[in-house]
């Protein structure tokens, strides 16, 4: 309850800092929208060459893309600052966070948001709705996907934290935070296109398959509703595992820092 109230305050403050737009902001929004459109066009070009990819039609592949984009856009809108954890530690600003009576990870994630991502979120939502209509999915499936995306964004949050922890433990040798963006690329396509070994990795190790491919298969194609519980559970579980790693890291930081 307390954290909910705090979250609202953070949002209020963050929104205020967004109000300082300049020309660059509009370029960013335009750029993001164009990028999305172009990605879709590129996909369309592929289907000029072949009628289907591993049994997936253009619209179906677009649905995978839309689901992944929605999940990643939620991550970018609300959790993007998780990418900067190592900066806070290097600059020493992390100490100022540790002396406050609120969970440090919560503070870190909320300390900044990315104003440019609202365009992404909007595009992803519109795309999802259009694709669902094209595929003649009932409206409640679209709602289910939105519900699931709230959880699957935790996978990206988890990966971002994990990347930062690896980066910090290796003293910046392995700067893996930015890899989150590459992981997003991986999540945009159905698991079916990947080799068997990679499929297993993407299901059980780096749970990127759960972002779009698995929800699409289980819910849009097979209508197996119990996955509505399993998918969020997997996301939360993954995040909790990462959170334990983060706690271990924090303990190490406290014993070896200066």
């Amino acid at each position: 309850m307390r954290y909910l109230k705090l979250l609202l305050t953070y949002m209020k403050v963050n929104l205020k800092s967004l109000a300082i737009y300049d020309l660059d902001f509009y370029f960013a929004i335009a750029g993001m929208i164009i990028q999305n459109v172009l990605n879709i066009l590129a996909l369309r070009f592929i289907f000029n060459i072949v009628p289907q990819i591993k049994g997936y039609s253009f619209e179906q592949l677009l649905l995978t893309y839309a689901l992944a984009s929605l999940s990643f856009a939620i991550f970018k809108c609300f959790f993007i600052n998780a990418l900067n954890i190592s900066d806070y530690l290097h600059q020493g600003t992390f100490d100022a966070i540790l002396v406050k009576p609120v969970n440090p990870l919560f503070q870190l994630v909320n300390a900044r948001v990315d104003e440019d991502s609202w365009g992404d979120l909007l595009v992803a939502l519109i795309l999802l709705i259009i694709v669902d209509i094209q595929l003649q999915q009932p409206w409640y499936i679209t709602l289910m996907f939105m519900f699931i995306a709230l959880f699957t964004s935790l996978i990206f949050l988890g990966l971002a934290i994990l990347g930062n922890v690896v980066s910090l433990l290796s003293n910046g040798i392995a700067d893996l935070a930015e890899t989150t963006f590459d992981f997003f690329e991986m999540s945009k396509y159905p698991l079916a296109i990947y080799a068997q070994a990679l499929k297993i990795v993407l299901t059980f190790v780096l749970p990127l398959g759960w972002v779009a491919s698995i929800p699409q298969e289980k819910i849009a194609q097979k209508h197996e509703w119990f996955w509505l519980a399993i998918i969020p559970a997997v996301c939360v579980l993954f995040f909790l595992l990462v959170y334990q790693v983060w706690r271990l890291f924090l303990a190490k930081y406290q014993s070896t820092g200066s």
């Binding site: 403050v13 800092s17 540790l98 009576p101 303990a251 820092g257 200066s258």
Partner: protein, 316 residues
């Protein structure tokens, strides 16, 4: 008792050079066997040169770092596991890192802190009004922090650290980089905070003495001195007078001032002047030599460091 440490020790590994595969590290003894107690309401000045271990000691007290050995209790409890609980009773100002949101007015950080520390609205308003008045900060709290001068920003940092009315105020080099005017107003402000326990670290002994009744000096990780500032003030530290005079030569001066030395930049220097002689020498000097510029200074901290034994400063 607010803080108690027993044989508190902290070392860490520092990377000195790194190759592709292996790294060379060296162990830094940041804090060594520090035992101290701070009672409620005390104002403690923690002084030392850069790298003396002040900041590490502060972090151990705050529960940011885990001791290598020894004990520390803050508000009677182990600070690491009780970090968030203790944080409600502590206000911290780090001179070199800001808790204010860069792109927003300080007021927004205050409001955020109000939620973080769960301060009642009426208390918040009353304290804000009082602190703003004390620091003469009315004008700039609604401007984005990035547009503030360093002095204004530090004032805002102080307000942010005090809005939850902490029992313990920890100041880690809060005056670093400030001009004399801003420094003075911060010092005056701190003097007026009579009811709080304060730990004030700095490398400037004089400044700390104006605020604190008790002075601790750290050197290479050891707590080498722990003394009342009223006693410490009595400790005589020799001064050095430096002056510029284009109209007299070194040889002319030398005849009447045998202790004078010429510096590479052409200035003259008289060193190791006992405190009681300073006034005499100054007046004599200004009366007899045409002087363009003159300064008197004493490096008390460095001098004290050389004359400390058994936790007290001693005359040799």
């Amino acid at each position: 008792m607010i803080i108690k440490t027993e044989n508190l020790t902290k070392h860490y590994q520092k990377v000195t050079s790194s190759g592709l595969l292996h790294k060379k590290t060296k162990t830094v003894q940041a804090v060594q066997n520090v035992s101290l107690q701070v009672e409620q309401g005390q104002r403690v000045g923690l002084v030392g040169l850069n790298g003396s271990g002040k900041s590490t000691l502060i972090k151990l007290i705050l529960g940011i770092l885990q001791p290598s050995s020894g004990n520390v209790a803050t508000f009677g409890v182990e600070p690491i596991t009780h970090r968030q609980q203790n944080a409600r009773k502590i206000g911290v100002v780090f001179g070199q890192r800001s808790q204010l949101r860069w792109d927003l007015p300080a007021m927004d950080t205050f409001k955020l802190n109000r939620e973080i520390y769960q301060v009642a609205q009426s208390d918040f308003q009353a304290r804000l009004a009082k602190l703003t008045r004390m620091l003469a900060a009315e004008d700039f709290l609604t401007q984005p922090v990035r547009t503030l001068s360093l002095g204004q920003r530090m004032k805002a940092e102080f307000i942010a650290a005090l809005l939850h009315d902490p029992e313990l105020l920890i100041l880690d080099e809060p005056t670093i980089g400030l001009d004399t005017l801003s420094k003075n107003s911060i010092v005056q402000f701190l003097k007026s905070l009579t009811s709080k326990t304060i730990i004030f670290t700095s490398h400037d002994l004089d400044e700390v003495e104006q605020v604190c009744s008790r002075i601790m000096i750290m050197n290479q990780g050891h707590l080498v001195l722990d003394q009342n500032s009223s006693e410490l003030v009595k400790f005589a530290v020799p001064s050095t007078i430096t002056f510029t005079s284009k109209q007299v030569s070194y040889d002319e001066l030398k005849s009447s001032w045998p202790n004078v030395r010429q510096l590479v930049n052409g200035d003259f220097e008289i060193a190791k002047i006992k405190p009681e002689q300073v006034k005499d020498i100054l007046s004599k000097l200004t009366a007899t030599v045409p002087i363009e510029n003159i300064t008197v200074k004493n490096n008390r901290l460095e001098y004290l460091l050389a004359h400390i034994s058994g936790g007290k400063a001693h005359e040799i």
